[in-house]
């Protein structure tokens, strides 16, 4: 097996995260259905968090909760990614709620979830 494929295999979490990011990004960018877009956004963010958490994982170590006063750093995994992802998850859920609320209002108004059609309708109203 070539070297670079080997690397992709070693970094399997990162590989999966990047594939997931690609799919999520594309769904958010090109899918026409608003709900699908929002789900795609959630996938995209989850992929980034997965990547970040994978960067903090160290094989054979435990979660960074100090037990029995054992503060030797070589016993625990990296706590920074966990903290950052925690922040990120809350950001994701906030944005998701906001976008879902927008979707509700748009559906109320236009009776469709297709963003292209909505854009078209509103453009027609203007003309």
């Amino acid at each position: 097996m070539p070297d670079f494929l080997m690397n992709l295999f070693t970094n399997y979490y990162e590989t999966a995260a990047m594939i997931l990011f690609g799919i999520g990004f594309t769904t958010l960018l090109t899918h026409r259905n608003l709900i699908k877009k929002i789900i795609g956004f959630n996938f995209m963010d989850a992929a980034i968090y997965l990547f970040l958490a994978a960067k903090g994982y160290i094989a054979g170590r435990l979660a960074p909760i100090i037990v029995d006063g054992n503060t030797d750093p070589s016993n625990y995994v990296n706590p920074i990614p966990t903290g950052l992802v925690l922040t990120g998850i809350v950001v994701s859920v906030s944005v998701t709620a906001f976008m879902l609320a927008l979707t509700c209002r748009l559906y109320d108004r236009f009776h469709t979830l297709d963003i292209d059609e909505i854009t078209h309708l509103v453009r027609k109203e203007r003309d």
Partner: protein
Amino acid sequence: MRNKRFFSRLSDFVEYGSFREEEYTLSPSHKANIDTDTPENRWLTSVQHSERSAPVRLMDWLKLRGFEVFNNLYRIASVIICITLIAVLLSVVVFLPPFGSDDNPAVNEVVERYVSKTVEETGATNSVAGMISAYRGFDTLGEAHVLFVAACSVIVLLRVDPSERRRGRLVDPGMTGEDLDFEPNSDLILRKAAKLLVPLSFILGLYVILNGTTSPGGGFSGGALMGAGLILCSVAFGFGRTQRFFGDGMYHLVKTVCLASYALMMAYFIFMGANGFDDHVWLGVPGSIISGGLILPINIAVGLEVACTMYCFYALFRKGGL
């Protein structure tokens, strides 16, 4: 409108970033009508007789098949974007340090300090809690306000004025019943299960919040659990039940007090720390509930804020107000 085909679609797309399908689809009657001089027939005959020049034929063909071509191109383009993006990102992964090894660049003196000094410096045995609420407390303050700003935006979008809501119900209880009125609460299984689960999720949420300094969890996860309990309560027993102890005023009170006290605590902490004063915060006994100095009150404030924000989201989506 019919002859507005491929290029107009393309220009629409480039200019406005979107287009609409119906306008461009061929109607069945148009397809069936073979004898007339439609672009389709012209195209077919011109292919058969080769009497027209290639560009003209191409234009005709595009006029005819514009919608399908564009739709397919759009789909193909999105797949291409996806694959290109993934390829670029995977090429990065190839060069990254191996997963799970203990000598990757992320393991440095910052991590060592966070793990080895958390108990001593912040009083929390959960070093993640110590990190997000004390070491990098400023980020977390921002994060709590992201949730707040999202809640405000949802209120702007979905909140219906209470007086209007009441009026609407008086006029036609059946019509507004779907969204604006209370949930139907006839499901026996749901109610029985909720009787067990609602207290459980409250207790679990409280436990997670209070033990945020010593075990996994903290304000955000515990608050989300309590919020889920509130939502379940309203789903099973109707909004009337939850409204009795958690209305509009209560929500604003909890949210404001929590966020303002959080900001004040952080401001005190940052001000004292930055100016090199002693902040006189008792760190407590590491490992017990009362530990972590300011982390515990911060967790409680954040937890309550998250719980009521989550419930507020749900209530706004269901009936446009608390």
